[in-house]
Amino acid sequence: MTGLRRVPWAPVVWLALLCVPWLGSRFYTFLATEIAIFALFAVSLNLLLGYTGLVSFGHAAYFGVGAYACAILMKTHGVPFPLAFAAAGVAAAAFALVFGFFCVRSTKIYFAMLTLAFAQIVWAICFKWNSVTGGEQGFSNVPYPDLGWMAAVPGLGALRVADQYFLLVMALTGIAFVVLRRLVDSPFGRMLTAIRENPERAEFVGLNVRLYQIAAFAIAGAFAGFAGALFGIFNRGVFPDFAYWSKSAEVLIMAILGGMGSFWGPAVGAAALTLLNHQITAVTQYWPLVLGIVLVVLLFAFPGGIVGALAAARTRVRARSRA
């Protein structure tokens, strides 16, 4: 068992996923791209949920902001992808900073509902601002970034654009995960968990709790924005429902399904939920119903999510093998 533990799973999985384009299936590439993006989205939420103890019902707002920012810059203003991508993160972080400032003044339920209310504002803006966002119809024909440079790399030039984009997504999300991992393992990350455990005590060891919460909010928002930017291109179009509360519900359930007590839990949850989504929506349009049922089952039977259940099972196996 300890042998398995030593394996650095994250890089191994990442490298394995990189091989997907060479499997030759459009669908696998499509699925893998979607999973990678949502994994980032979910892990970004977990910075707030699992690490800082803040339940946000409106995380999709920043996903939406990032998506629109990147798409609008690239298509309407011809901004090159690297710049547009960075701008997406900055824009999302800016929104998160402003919203976060108001939200952290309240606790628990107030906080959750405030995040929802602000997310609905973002949705309403996207929905109504026809001239800039395309309104209800959405913002379509988002261009791919210029991937011509990939032709210079041996082996990559022959791939389809979708596959090349997948590799770009893997690279960018990979970097994002490394950064987020560093963050949660840093002293700053320790402060966040301290705040989660006991905000009152945290204040009296010298932490300006609100400031840290706002910082966590902004960082989580920024990475959600990055995920949104990538998704807008992947989806070839950005729509108001990127910021709708149901998107927030999905990413929240991903985090809980995978397990918010660990760093990679939400990524696992994203993969599981995306796969489930594809299976279910092939059969029925009532995906929210299934999602709701999944959440209820989780709440009653598996509060620790997939990773939590696995960890619990492993502890049981170990205890039994010791007995």
Partner: protein, 245 residues
Amino acid sequence: MLEVRNLRRSFGGVAAIDGVDLAVAAREILAIIGPNGAGKSTLFNLITGHLRPDAGSVRLGDRDVTGMAPHRLCALGVARSFQRTNIFPKLTVFENVQAALIAHRGRGRDLWSRAEGLFRDEAQALLRDVNLLDKADTAGGALSHGNQKQLELGIALAGNPEILLLDEPTAGMSAAETRDSMALLRRIAAERGLTLLFTEHDMEVVFSTAQRIAVLHQGRVIAAGTPEAIRGDAEVRRVYLGDRQ
């Protein structure tokens, strides 16, 4: 060291603290006692910035700290323990103290270093001081009540405070735990030259530990002095035992 002048605070028209004057000298051990509802916790909350006073002032040394936010007061050398044990339950004992050290040393803004081994030596020294080194890897929430109080003391000491405010430090403890806990406290206070201000119900603790005692009743200090003086004070006797004489 710490001076409270004419502190007042009301809740919905009822004066919880009604003009309290108090002074604690450096390295002194002062106990605040009083019947239930006298306002002891409120007084603490006013001093440590959890509540804003309606009137009056709190001075630390020559600095006015009235209504200062807790996290800023903490940086000035004030540490506090709470009535209900206040630790970080899901973090290990080691991580509890490490977090306190990170916060106090201002490393909380560090987004890039690895926190795992940070301040390991200092944390272990602190744990040794409060007799918890052997439990370093236990989750805070899994400790016994007495051990949790020790941990809380460790967290408070992480900031190298000059003055320690303790809200009912032996609440919920058995006689043995109380003895050990107070002995530990006295030792640490002596070793580090701390000023101690604590509230208590347990009179044995108060009279065996405090150098001076202040008696709080209905939001006012009705008597303050050495333990002998307080023991003999008629007003204090009346408040505690009723009008018997």
